[in-house]
Symmetry: C2
Amino acid sequence: MSAQPITLPRPAANGRSCAKFDCLFGAPELSGPSVPFERNSEIYGEGEPADYVYKVIRGAVRTCKNLSDGRRQINGFYFAGDIFGLEGDGEHAWSAEAVVNCKILMVKRSLVMSASQRDAEVGHGLWAATVQELQRAQNHALLLIKSAQERVATFLLELAHRLPCSSAVDLMMSRQDIADYLGLTIETVSRTLTQLQGTSTIELLGARRIVLRNPSVLDTLNS
Amino acid sequence: MSAQPITLPRPAANGRSCAKFDCLFGAPELSGPSVPFERNSEIYGEGEPADYVYKVIRGAVRTCKNLSDGRRQINGFYFAGDIFGLEGDGEHAWSAEAVVNCKILMVKRSLVMSASQRDAEVGHGLWAATVQELQRAQNHALLLIKSAQERVATFLLELAHRLPCSSAVDLMMSRQDIADYLGLTIETVSRTLTQLQGTSTIELLGARRIVLRNPSVLDTLNS
DNA sequence: CGTCTTCTTGAGCCACTTCAAGGTAAGTGG
DNA sequence: CCACTTACCTTGAAGTGGCTCAAGAAGACG
């Protein structure tokens, strides 16, 4: 957990991030150390004080909640360039875990808050990041009323959109992660992927690499 | 749609609103007219420019989306004291409709934005309102992975918490509204309510008034 | 009182879950 | 390099919770 020169990662593929807020994370006085987290390790737990705001430098993070009866819901996935851990009050409503080995930038929440008080533009950036998170949450809710095929299609398109362009989508997360994000079982996720492959809509290169052979079919399912 | 003296309504029952942001809506230079909307009339449509921010003075509002195949999702309900219509970019992602006859306060979005630039405290209030909306959206997603009983129980508890205290919860919205909010059909909502009445957990006083006879049972379902 | 809307109830069906078994890939020690 | 282990993924068969279709009951309103 040693401090080190901050090298800003490539911005998210879809360019959703705000320049000034990114700048906040790059500004020398505010940047914290870039910390490695091992696959499946907890970054913070539900109910813990939210003392930091986080940015993914490399890897992938999931935010989730374990329900009393053993079910789990994954609220979202975060990839290189994404910010997570922003909370209204000082307590994390979700826990965060590394999906794969990660490098995470940590910035003191108090610094973010005071900077946004001083600098209206930074404040606006903070607000924009929150609004973006709101839209993601609303789209997630919208996803959860759809059929299994539609959920998987939407998920694949979202990934393809957010991850760096490449011939195949690199999943990183397990079937269980996908299932808990989509509100399905792993069996249904697996069956749906097989089914989409059967119609030549996608092609599975091993379990964790997927080529979108016919995105327009996925778009139709998504709409 | 004539301008009239602004009389601030009683604050939301749960006191979630921010004093300074409320103040924004009460400040003379920012307050717009209080406008009546008839039951089921559209306040704004999906995709329309977001020129205003809204506050419910009296009545109830739903924000919703109509999917291409005729399904509808309701994103949320807003009651006296609640703010809605806040958007990141200048376009409404959801449409808003009056559930019953309403009085709605409209404030120019540009005024809100410029005020939050000038005054850090107002800016913080704007952010807090957005964070609250984010939490609501996340809880909504959490709701949608549960069983019908759990969804209905959570919904009833949320209503009881947000609406002014009274012996019975006054529903205002139709079974179809509830169904579209919970991701169920009207039949399932109706059956679930009947079933909860059968176990003496609730009591139906007509279709739109419900007494929570045993909230602890609902709490158990909610957890 | 009749009409229209909304809500409830019933019966059958289907998409997804559950339970169970087998396959695949990556790592580990001999 | 290969046997063994372990974690993960796929596939099958049966079960079920909520949906669909259909009819009737209860209110709301002129």
